[in-house]
């Protein structure tokens, strides 16, 4: 457990006045407040640190104790601990819990050792009931996983949560599950669980919303003379007629063969196939002769 320099955390010197500390705290709190930096773990951590520093330095008694023991707090602690235990057994007081949304378990080991469990020193803490913290989770899926609606069981904070993942969810989409976040404080309602989908595409298809795009190679002879090709779609193979004299980069649309539309049961986007015409890499003598003949006809 390392010593934490609370003055450094707040960016003030050891002789700072109460007002300087308050000013420094407010400035840093505005910068790192979790509500102003949603989903930013670093800001949340920083906010906890400055809160802890403020808890100590803004309270005269705590500050005196902190200044007295400083880096030697571990030795001073033994004496204080004995005194505290004595006081606690006599007073048998009840602590109010640290009751802010970000307030649970936010004290460092250093703070806990020096001042005891968090909660009773907060100068702006109240016993109001607050909604629990929202939990954020990322769910890694493959594109094929979200082609159909799937049910999954997730374990979040030791609790199993049954989740239905609707077909057609997009990469980066966030689904909110009400009441499955952190427990409310002092009887407040639970927070929500926010699940972000991180969808990896390991297929040959490119996806844009519900539409899919695929490029397939077409040999020269089929492009010139026309014919039939079999292509893989998401729900099986499809035979496609290739028109005579199909040009390079020609795009054809297969209606309804794309991806399911999110929360629109039975509706699908389209699949766009782009032909890339491949020229032969080698010609036999006979083929060469025939091409020369063709060239003469031009």
């Amino acid at each position: 457990m390392a010593f934490i320099d609370y003055y450094k955390t707040l960016g003030v010197d050891k002789n700072a006045s109460k007002n300087d500390i308050k000013k420094a705290y407010r400035k840093l709190a505005r910068k790192h407040h979790p509500d102003l930096n949603p989903n930013d773990k670093e800001a949340e951590l920083q906010f906890k640190k400055i809160n802890e520093a403020n808890e100590v330095l803004s309270n005269e008694e705590n500050r005196k104790k902190y200044d007295k023991y400083g880096e030697n707090w571990q030795h001073g602690e033994a004496h204080e601990q004995a005194q505290r235990e004595h006081r606690e057994s006599q007073q048998n007081y009840q602590r109010t819990s640290g009751s802010q949304d970000f307030g649970n378990g936010e004290y460092s080991d250093f703070f806990e050792s020096m001042f005891g469990g968090g909660g009773s020193y907060g100068n702006n803490r109240s016993s109001a009931r607050f909604r629990g913290q929202d939990f954020n989770a990322t769910l890694q899926l493959n594109l094929k996983d979200v082609y159909t609606t799937e049910k999954r069981v997730l374990t979040v904070n030791g609790k199993n949560i049954r989740l239905t993942i609707p077909a057609g969810v997009t990469n980066g989409q966030i689904i909110k599950i009400k009441g499955k976040g952190g427990e409310g404080v002092n009887g407040g309602p639970n927070g929500d669980l926010l699940i972000e989908f991180n969808i990896t595409n390991n297929t040959d298809f490119k996806r844009d919303g519900a539409n899919l795009y695929k490029t397939i190679n077409l040999d020269l002879y089929k492009a010139v003379l026309g014919g039939e090709v079999t292509i893989d779609t998401f729900d099986g193979k499809v035979k496609l007629n290739v028109k005579e004299l199909t040009q390079n980069d020609t795009r054809v649309k297969l209606k309804g063969k794309g991806f399911p539309k999110y929360k629109k049961d039975g509706e699908f986007g389209d699949l766009y196939i782009t032909y890339t015409i491949k020229l032969p890499k080698k010609l036999s003598d006979k083929q060469k002769e025939l091409f020369e003949e063709l060239a003469k006809l031009q």
Partner: protein
Amino acid sequence: MKETQLIPITSLCTHYQLEMSFFNGLNDYGLIEFVSVKKTFCIHQDKIADVEKMIRLHQELQLNFEGIDAVFNLLNKIDSLKSELITTQNRLRRFEDI
């Protein structure tokens, strides 16, 4: 709107230990919308998360109503830019490896 989904402002005052004037202020600045049911002002339960955020901004950062309004507008802007960024990134993937 179901009445069971509405929470009287007076309950919020007791719950969060705040003055009625705070909620009136939020309403005056258009940050929340009161719904009147049988002469009682209420707000919809879905707005509670936002209300709590406003309370935290007010109590922990000493932001006034104008400040809270500015913060909410900017956070909404960040949200919409984020979702635009995700959509654009998803679209861009179509052209990768070409």
